[in-house]
Structures are given as C-alpha cells and as structure tokens.
Symmetry: C2
C-alpha cells in the first residue's frame, strides 16, 4: 500500500494533489446547477458536491468555492434566491463537462454546450430539459467554511420533477434506468449498474458473517 502523510500531501505538485485528493472521497454525484441573473442571463455549471441534508424538510446542500472559480452560479443564487439541480445522464455527459469552461458571463452554457433551458410553472431558474431527474431549489442559507473559504449552500426542494416510471412503490428511484452517472476525480465520469439492495439493517437480521 502507498502511504502519504499530511506533510507528503502538502509537498505534492498542485496538479497531482488536486487529482489525488479529488479522487479519494469516492464516487460523487454528477449534477448541473441552473441559475439566472437578475438581468436574465442564464448559467449552467457542473457540480459534484451536492449532498443530502434531510428528507423532512427536504433539504439539499452543496459546496461552492467562490474564491477559486467564477462566481456566476453563486452570485445568481444569492441575487435571485433560486436554482435548479439536474441529473447528468450518459447521453449528455460531454456537454455537461464542458459547462465548466470559463465562459464570459454573457455566454450562457445552455447555448455554448447546446443544452435546452426549460422553465416550469413560474419558477425563476432554468431547468435542463434533457435531464430526467431535476429539482427546483429555494435558497435558504449559506454557511461559510472559514477554514478554506468554501461555502455550504443550503436549499429546500420546491419542485421535484422526474420520470414517473422510475419511482418504485417504496419511493426509491431507479437511477440506473435513466443512466444517471457519477464523477471520479475532476474529469472522469462513470456509469453505474445495480449491485445489491438489502433490507433495513436490524440487529436481529444481521447475517452470520465470517472473516
């Protein structure tokens, strides 16, 4: 096994370290965040830091790093109070990846990467038409993570829109059926297949495992 201490991680080249440390938390969800500025300029950006916070109320977090990357998504969320989270599927993974290029604010990634903006009811922020699982989010709170200048954005689900056929009787969603993907590191995308579904873990049901 290869062993890096904290000191050795600090001494790695910036590029190598970024790839390594972005790889080792495991697979990450692949989502596009859709926003609009107060003057009507839309923005779309790939994020791998979306995290479930709670089901009741239905809250989702995501980490933004306003100091190191263009702030369009973050600024639009603060300015309008709304954003969308849209699953990335195999069919448009390359388009989704290139939304992370450093486009001018006046160039919408919907246009440059040829993904269709979709407006639902009177919700302000644009959804991704091509996405089969998407959420309209109301911004609730930002929590600064002072230790490295990142920010936890917390939002509440106002609209949840997904293909009806993929919702199971128990509420579980079959993400494999719509070929949602996941991210490894910064630039690698992976497809996903079912492995196992287990019953709710209770002490009396624990199998008789062996080493």
């Amino acid at each position: 096994m290869k062993h890096f201490t904290n000191q050795e991680i600090q001494e790695l080249s910036k590029y190598y370290r970024a790839n390594l440390i972005n790889s080792i938390t495991g697979y990450k969800p692949a989502n596009l965040i859709g926003t609009i500025s107060e003057t009507g300029e839309t923005n779309l950006a790939v994020f791998s830091s979306v995290v479930h916070l709670g089901a009741n109320p239905a809250l989702i977090g995501m980490i933004v790093r306003p100091a190191s990357v263009p702030r369009h998504t973050y600024e639009n969320i603060l300015a309008t109070g709304y954003y969308t989270i849209n699953h990335i599927h195999e069919s448009f993974v390359e388009k989704a990846h290139f939304t992370s290029a450093n486009f001018d604010r006046s160039d919408s990634e919907f246009d440059t990467c040829k993904l269709q903006a979709q407006y639902i009811d009177d919700f302000k922020a644009p959804f991704v038409q091509e996405s089969q699982v998407k959420m309209g989010m109301k911004f609730l709170q930002e929590i600064p993570i002072e230790i490295n200048g990142t920010i936890l954005i917390i939002g509440q689900i106002e609209h949840l829109i997904l293909l009806g056929e993929i919702i199971g009787e128990d509420g579980n969603v079959d993400l494999e059926a719509v070929e949602s993907i996941c991210v490894s590191g910064l630039e690698s995308y992976s497809k996903v297949g079912k492995l196992a579904k287990f019953e709710y873990a209770r002490v009396k049901n624990v199998p008789d495992f062996e080493y």
Copy 2:
C-alpha cells in the same frame, strides 16, 4: 414527468419520502467511518454523506445527524479527535450495510460484521483492513446546520493509504480497479464502470455540439 411540489413532498408518508428524497441527489460515495471511544470501544458505521471540501489543505466534510440516529460515531470523533474514512468495495458491501444496525455501544461493528480493525502507526482510530483506499482524519471543526439539526464535520487528512497501482501518473485514482461502489437511496448499492475522461474544460476546446 411526475411533479411533486414542496407541499406534496411534505404530505408523503415518512417511509416513502425518506426513500424518495434520499434517492434524488444522485449517486453517493460509500464509506465506512471508523472510530474508537476513550475507553477503547471501536465503532464502524456506513456513511454516504462524505464530501470533498478542498485539496490544499486536504479537507473532507461529512454530515452527521446526532438527533435521529445513535451517536457513537459523532461522540467518538469529538472525544478522541480522530476517525478514519474507508472505501467500501463490492467484496464486503453486505457487511458494510449491516454496520448500520442499532448495535449496543459495547458491540463493535468490526466484530458483529466481521471486518478487521487495522491500526497504522500510532494513529488512534481503527482503519478497515479490507479497504483499499482509506484515510486517517484529524477532526478540525463541527458546524451546526441549525435548520434541521444536522452537523457538518470537517476533518483534515493525516494519513492517506491506498493501493499504489491504482494511482495514475497525474494523481487520478482508478476506483474501478478496486471495485469501490456507490449508494443510491438508503439501501441500494451500485457498481461502477468507466464511461469517459475528458480534457480540462477550456473555452477554446469546447466541441462543436448540436442540440
């Protein structure tokens, strides 16, 4: 497409809502968190909320919900200041799942689920011997998320231990080679295969996409 408003989500049954809302953020990383109490009782628990916070310094976050589930992991982290993050692989996914059963504090999940505790150097918290990608974490900070009583735990990587062969020349880690898995919803686990790796997204390299 099926459309749930916030109001309709609130009116769902608790079980259905938990499954649905835990499914829709996309695939989640599958990790085991290893801890030890001040009196030497080890604990192991599956978490799907691990999130990359930054590479320099190398920081990782995770969400804990001390109000709703047993607090052993959280209490041990606060008491000792150390914990481990260990990838779950296909070979021990069922053992990993059942660590979430509500065992007594005196029953270590290492024993009940037959995973081997491993101690590295003089690091306090136990690693999972069977895991091929694992981190020894130093607890830095907890940030309360008052809106729903969850907590963001922030830690710094003190030791990063992984199979040397899976580290690419650029620092990217081949998680598929060690069959790391991901989580969907609360009880479903998925296997992962390579889909695509793209170059760093620059405006001048954006392909000529079509709708």
